[in-house]
Structures are given as C-alpha cells and as structure tokens.
C-alpha cells in the first residue's frame, strides 16, 4: 500500500502539469465540487475548524486502527483543499498522521498562492487533523 509520502508525490506531480495559477485554482475548485457532502448530522460545532473565514467541518472515524476523515465547507475552494488533505491522510494510522510533515503543501506552492489568511485556514485544518490523531492514539493505547 502506498504511503502518505507516495500520495503527496502524486499530488505534487499533478500540480506540476499546471503552469499558471488559474489552472491550479480551477483544479482545486473541481476537487471541491467532487468531494461528497458531509451528512448534516456531522455539521456540529464540535466538528467545526476554528480559524477559517468560511465554515469548515471535519468528521473523523476510527476503524481497525485507522482514521477516516470526511469533511465539508461552504467554500468550494476550501473544500478542494480539504479534499487533498483527506486524500493524503484518510485511512492512515494515528502514528502515520502525527509524524507526517506534509511537505506537499509547500511543494505544491499552496501557501504562496493562497494569501496569508487562507493558508492560516489550511494550517488550522492540518492542526485539527493532527489533533484528532493524537486523541485517537491516546484513547486506544490506554485500552
């Protein structure tokens, strides 16, 4: 099975095909539109990611040692960004997620073509994902 790093590399290669920001945006919007909507019951305050101008919900489920993420946002662009995070990190063990440096964010240039405020939102999502991973790890190592 491919690792987090393998999936990151795939994304970096996909982005390498675009030579301008317009195409990158279009691609991210497309990813956002394709991300299946989150069930309304998961759009709770608890699942809300803080630090974003748009509403972002992140639901994490733990199955057989792995965490599965699903997410939604009222911003299509943000949905596109989360869809990449979900693709890289969903179905991984807590340890893998905690250890992942997620270099692809920098390699794709997401932080430089998103203005500061937006990349903060992206970092908040990463933080929340890692937070879930730590939570599940603690919960399941004590039992």
């Amino acid at each position: 099975m491919n690792t987090i790093r393998d999936t990151e590399k795939e994304i970096v290669e996909e982005f390498a095909l675009f030579d301008n920001n317009d195409d990158k945006y279009e691609y991210i919007i497309d990813l956002g539109k394709k991300l299946p909507p989150l069930d309304e019951k998961y759009k709770t305050d608890e699942n809300k990611v803080r630090g974003c101008q748009s509403s972002v919900w992140l639901q994490a489920d733990y199955k057989e040692g792995k965490i599965f993420f699903s997410a939604d946002s009222d911003s299509v662009l943000v949905k596109g960004l989360i869809s990449m995070l979900v693709r890289v990190l969903s179905g991984r063990t807590p340890d893998e997620i905690i250890a992942a440096p997620l270099d692809f964010i920098r390699e794709v240039g997401l932080t430089s073509f998103l203005a500061q405020t937006r990349s903060n939102g992206l970092l908040s999502m990463v933080k929340q994902i890692k937070h879930y991973a730590v939570g599940f790890k603690l919960k399941h190592s004590t039992t």
Partner: protein
C-alpha cells in the same frame, strides 16, 4: 440636485491626473494591474503624504512641545498645524476640541472610559444601532456591564436603514448617550445624524458620531451637526495609519476625567497630587505619533486641493455605475440599498461563498473585502455568512468597475 458648481467641478476633475499622485496604483498584482476596491478598509496614500513622512524624519525629527532647540520648534509647529487643519476641516469652534488619537477605535474608547465612566450609572441607557462597527459596540458593552447600564439597539430595515419609529421608541429620559455610525462601512448607508441629535437634545442625551467612513466622503461640520463627540481615522482619508481624531465639545472635554496618565498631559506632578494640563493636551499622554500627525495635514491639504465636492461627485458616479452594472448579474443581490448611500457596494452571490469570489478576483489583481466587515450583528441581521464589498475612492475608475464585473462573471462560471 445638480447645481452649476457641481457640473463645473465635475468637468475639472481629472481622475487620471489624480491617479498619478498615488505611486501604489502603478503596481501589478499576480501579473495584473492593481485594482484597489478596498478603500473602506483603508485608502491608498498620495505622494504628498508619503513625502511628509519622509521629510519629517529626514529634516526635523524631534520630540515636541518641550524642546527649546530649532528641530523641536519646527516639529512642534508642524504637529500643531495639523490640529489647526483638522479644526477647519471639520469646522470645530476651537483647536482645543481636537484630540489626537490612534484612530476611531481609540476615540470611542476614550469617550467610554472618561465621559462614560463619569456619567453613566446603573439603569441608564445607551443607544447604538444594528449597523455599528465592533468599535462602536464593544466599548459600550463593557461600560454597560461595569455600570449596570442597558445597551439598546436601533433595528434596521431590509434596505439597511435604521427604522425611525423604532428609534423614537427607544429614546427616553433614561437615555444617557446615543452613539451612532455616520456612514456604515458594511452597507454604505448614510444615517440621519442631525435628526438623531435633535431627538437626543429633547431628552438631554449626549451624542457620539462614528465618522470613520464619512469624513473622507461627506462635508463634516461638527457645529452644524451639533454632535458632542465625533471620531475618525486618518488612514481612511488618504492619510497615514496610526493617527486619528476625537472631536469633543469643549465644555464636555473640560469636565471629563483624564484618560491615560503620563507626560504631556500634566501641569504639575508631586507625589501628593498631580494637576492636569489644559485642553487638548489633557487627553494626549506621552510622546504622540508625531510623524503621522504631521502627514495627516498633507492628506487634508490633498483633499482640500482636489475638492471634496469634486471627489464626491466622481465617487457618486462610480457608485451609481457599479450598482447598475452589478444588478445585471442575475445571481447577485446587493445588501444595503438605502436611499442615502455613499461609495461602496456590498453583495452576495447565490450559492457562492464570498471568500471564493475574493480569491478569484485577487488572482486578477482586484482587491475587495469579504466577511462580516467587523459588523457581525448586522450581517446576522441579514442572515448571510458575510458579503463581498467593493468600496471606492476618488482614484477609482469606471474601467476598474468593468474589470470587477468581468472578474465576477468569470468567478461565477468557475464556482457555480
């Protein structure tokens, strides 16, 4: 009504010559010429303002008021010349009524902390409106909580105007203060401040006007308006950041307790007792923001030389044109359609988040603002997550609005 002077002014107003004075307007953003439509957040600065800052630091930087040497005298003269310029700009009756602050926010906080602390008691009422900026909500909330006073809020109608009958119902002998925004930064609505002040006088209430958005667009005459306090920020009127003005009626300023203690604001200090300096220095503790204060005069001179009326006529034309053009986009709704309105359009587009629009516009070099514009209760009133706001200054052009409309069509096509 269009008078002959207006027509003459309009003819002599040359937007391209005006743009030449703003160096930043020559830059590119993401490979496109900058189209700056976020003027309600802060305006760009003309070369004369930038020069004033540089000249001060290169020519006569010194601490003011206390020095005997030449530099200190020159700096003091330039600093105090700004006070005189501000006095004329808003037609205050004396220079002692002009207090320098960091901006509108500090002006409002100063009044809440001094006049408010001294005069508001348990059971008193303070009236604000639904369309206030957080700067004109939070200081009063804090004061009300401390004093056990009650904050009353004037509702607004669907067009974004305060509902006059509801306002009248709130005014009573319990009303101690009415603090109202002159022009809404989120909607562009111009509030009927003179009529509000007339009602306040009937019950003996004091009135504070938040002039952050109005001062650059409207003629301000504080004596004619008869407000007790008026606060504004230099950075929204082509001046530097970090400096603003609080106007207060002399009688009120004289009796109010001091704000911050320190240098400048004292007459004599002993450990037994300190006596305070006279107006306006009583409220200006510490070394002030000398450079930005001096450069504020350059901004005022710039406005006076170009003519507020001429600039406003151009801005009104932009507003009318933008409203017309934007309304032709079927999925777009303008939030804020007040009869009296200046210089900005706030809007939402069906099923599209404002942030996505702003990101795609930014990618074409177009700067707009999105979100709640620091007026969250107002945005909640309209049951929307926020708006996209395009706000205009005298240097904007119809061609820029055409680009905005094009950018929006493109964003809608991609996002919908």
């Amino acid at each position: 009504m269009i008078t002959t002077t207006d027509t003459i002014l309009k003819k002599t107003f040359d937007v391209h010559a005006l743009r030449e004075q703003f160096p930043i307007l020559k830059r590119q953003v993401k490979g496109y010429p900058l189209i700056y439509l976020d003027n309600a957040a802060t305006s760009q600065k003309p070369q004369v303002v930038i020069d004033a800052l540089v000249n001060y630091y290169t020519g006569f930087n010194a601490n003011i008021h206390r020095g005997i040497h030449s530099l200190a005298e020159e700096a003091t003269a330039a600093f105090e010349a700004t006070r005189d310029a501000v006095k004329s700009f808003i037609n205050a009756s004396s220079r002692e009524e002009i207090i320098f602050t960091r901006g509108t926010t500090e002006g409002i906080n100063l009044v809440a902390a001094t006049w408010g602390r001294a005069n508001v008691k348990a059971g008193d009422e303070i009236i604000i409106s639904t369309m206030e900026h957080h700067s004109n909500i939070v200081p009063w909330q804090v004061l009300c909580e401390e004093k056990g006073a009650v904050l009353k809020v004037i509702p607004v109608n669907d067009k974004g105007e305060i509902i006059w009958e509801e306002f009248l119902k709130l005014v009573s002998p319990k009303t101690k203060l009415i603090s109202i925004v002159h022009v809404s930064n989120a909607l562009g609505t111009v509030n009927p401040v003179k009529a509000i002040i007339a009602e306040a006088r009937k019950v003996g209430a004091v009135v504070m006007v938040d002039g952050a958005q109005s001062t650059v667009h409207l003629d301000i005459d504080v004596q004619d308006m008869d407000c007790d306090f008026f606060a504004f920020s230099s950075h929204k009127m082509y001046g530097p950041t970090g400096i603003g003005v609080l106007y207060g009626k002399k009688a009120l300023l004289q009796e109010m307790p001091v704000y911050q203690g320190g240098g400048e604001m004292i007459r004599e200090v002993t450990f037994a007792k300190t006596t305070f300096n006279e107006l306006p220095y009583k409220y200006e503790a510490g070394t002030p923001n000398i450079a930005d204060t001096i450069a504020l005069k350059a901004a005022i001179d710039f406005i006076n030389e170009n003519g507020k009326a001429a600039m406003r006529a151009h801005e009104d034309e932009l507003l009318e044109y933008a409203t017309e053009q934007l309304q032709q986009i079927p999925s777009l709704s303008i939030i804020g359609q007040a009869k009296e309105k200046v210089s900005l359009v706030s809007f939402i587009i069906d099923k599209i988040h404002p942030q996505d629009i702003a990101i795609l516009l930014d990618n074409r070099g177009i700067a707009v603002r999105t979100g709640h514009h620091c007026a969250q209760p107002l945005i909640d009133r309209f049951c929307i997550p926020g708006t996209t706001r395009a706000s205009f200054a005298a240097y904007n052009t119809k061609e820029e609005i055409d680009e905005l409309v094009k950018g929006l069509h493109r964003a809608i096509k991609l996002l919908a």
